[in-house]
Amino acid sequence: MAYRTSFVMMTTAQFVVTGLDFATIGIMFTHTNSLGGYTLPEVAFLYSASGVSLGLADLLCGNVERLGQRVRDGSLDVMLIRPVPTLVQMAADQFALRRLGRITQAGGVLVWSMTRLHVHWTVDRIVLVPVMLIAGTAIFCAIFVLGAAFQFVSGDASEVMNAFTYGGNFLTQYPPTIFARDLVRTMTLIIPLGFVNWMPALHILGKADPVGLPSVFQFLSPIVAAVLAAAGALAWRVGIRSYRSTGS
């Protein structure tokens, strides 16, 4: 907080950077009424569900992606000897309030889209919204941790993670109907990004699944999130066990 002007500008930038994606969608919809069979409020719903999930995940554990840097400068060793779980220290270190920018912006769009959607709000649909957001946050958190664990193997390749986190966010902002079916299948069954918002949103918005997966998949997000989180925890454990400091 030492550089006040810079802090204000960085928070604004975070606010605007997610807004930029939405401005793109907005401009697209000045030329058409539907993208892949989805209207603007429906795309906005997908966009904001993904944005809130990523924003919360980034706030909670986005910092773990700095692992490669910590290995290089040796500060990981300092954390290892403290009596607090390393993962918690990594996540809490440099807790950046400016990351609230993304959450506020996406949250605003979420509220807006829900007032504009033509959806019959039954109980199951209402309950599924917070479930979707929590599961989505957990999935992105797990991806952050998996990516960090991967850096025990290759420290320079942290940018690969961006393809899954920010790329995954970018992917799931748009309706699954516009992508090639094999891509949607891969992104749901192999890399479970589709469970962040696509699958639950199909039920909430009452849309047909473009790849025809069983409808039970639309309720599976929490289970997928739990499995992925377990995988992340395991990978982290293996990584930290195999870590050999160079010492000094």
Binding site: M9, Q14, L35, G167, Y174, I178
Partner: protein, 263 residues
């Protein structure tokens, strides 16, 4: 001149050293290219010939965008991270002590970076994109020559703008906030998020005469045959001169603020 060439070459070599980072970057650019390509296909499916492009040209635009995103450092970065670091730590005093032009030194360094990013990171996503999607890539060597020249001037304009932003560090000490905001403006106004011809008319018209369009919209239009290389290069050259002259003038003002703690 020899010193600038040396700086250029060292910078090129420096970026080419990190192989894993390069492969990771190619992977990321390709993934983003694919996602954007599908969104453009959906949009151009709904509105064929939107913004004067057909669907093939729109997808080509996407992959050229991924090729130039880092080359022209559209989102910022490049030399300015190191520049800001030297400013915070005070190493900038050493740079000022050198018998070379400060802006020229960093321009040479940034051109080296851009050269590597174009060859090492730009071409691969474009080729992978061409394997999966139908792209419109001309076989006319003259058009490619015009495109390369246009990209070169685009990098110079981009450097000039980022240099002006980086100089704000002399007053703010921490220029990260300004840099992020400047990066966002550039993403939007260069045509990176959507071609400027697709913008609402008034905004698109304004954006097309501003310097940011030199980073992406102008070079892409040269390659797609939408704009003559001569008109494009003239436009970019004018902006390159303006930003570099401004940079020179602001450097003079900024360096007067430097207080070196001797000892």
């Amino acid at each position: 001149m020899a010193v600038y060439a040396a700086v250029y070459w060292r910078s090129f070599r420096r970026y080419s050293t990190y192989r894993a980072a390069t492969y990771a970057g190619i992977f990321t650019n390709t993934i983003f290219g694919f996602i954007m390509a599908y969104t453009y296909i959906a949009l151009w499916h709904a509105r064929p010939h939107l913004g004067g492009y057909n669907q093939t040209q729109a997808v080509t635009y996407v992959f050229l965008g991924q090729a130039l995103l880092l080359t022209c450092a559209i989102f910022g970065g490049g030399f300015s991270e190191e520049f800001a670091e030297r400013l915070r730590k005070g190493d900038i005093a050493i740079d000022l002590y050198r018998p070379v032009n400060l802006q020229g030194w960093w321009l040479a360094s940034d051109l080296g970076r851009a050269g590597f990013h174009f060859l090492g990171r730009g071409i691969a996503p474009l080729l992978i994109g061409a394997l999966v999607f139908q792209l419109q890539l001309t076989t006319d060597p003259l058009v490619w020559l015009g495109f390369i020249a246009s990209v070169f001037l685009g990098v110079v304009v981009s450097f000039g703008l980022r240099y002006l932003v980086a100089l704000s560090g002399f007053w703010l000490m921490d220029s990260r906030g300004v840099e992020q905001l400047a990066g966002l403006v550039a993403m939007f106004m260069s045509g990176m998020v959507l071609p400027l011809t697709v913008f609402p008319t008034w905004l698109g018209d304004v954006a097309r005469v501003l310097p940011w369009s030199a980073m992406l919209q102008v070079p892409v239009d040269v390659l797609l045959g939408k704009r003559s290389a001569l008109s494009a290069l003239r436009f970019e050259a004018i902006w390159a001169v303006i930003v570099l002259v401004l940079g020179q003038a602001l450097t003079a003002v900024a360096t007067r603020r430097v207080v070196v703690q001797g000892g």
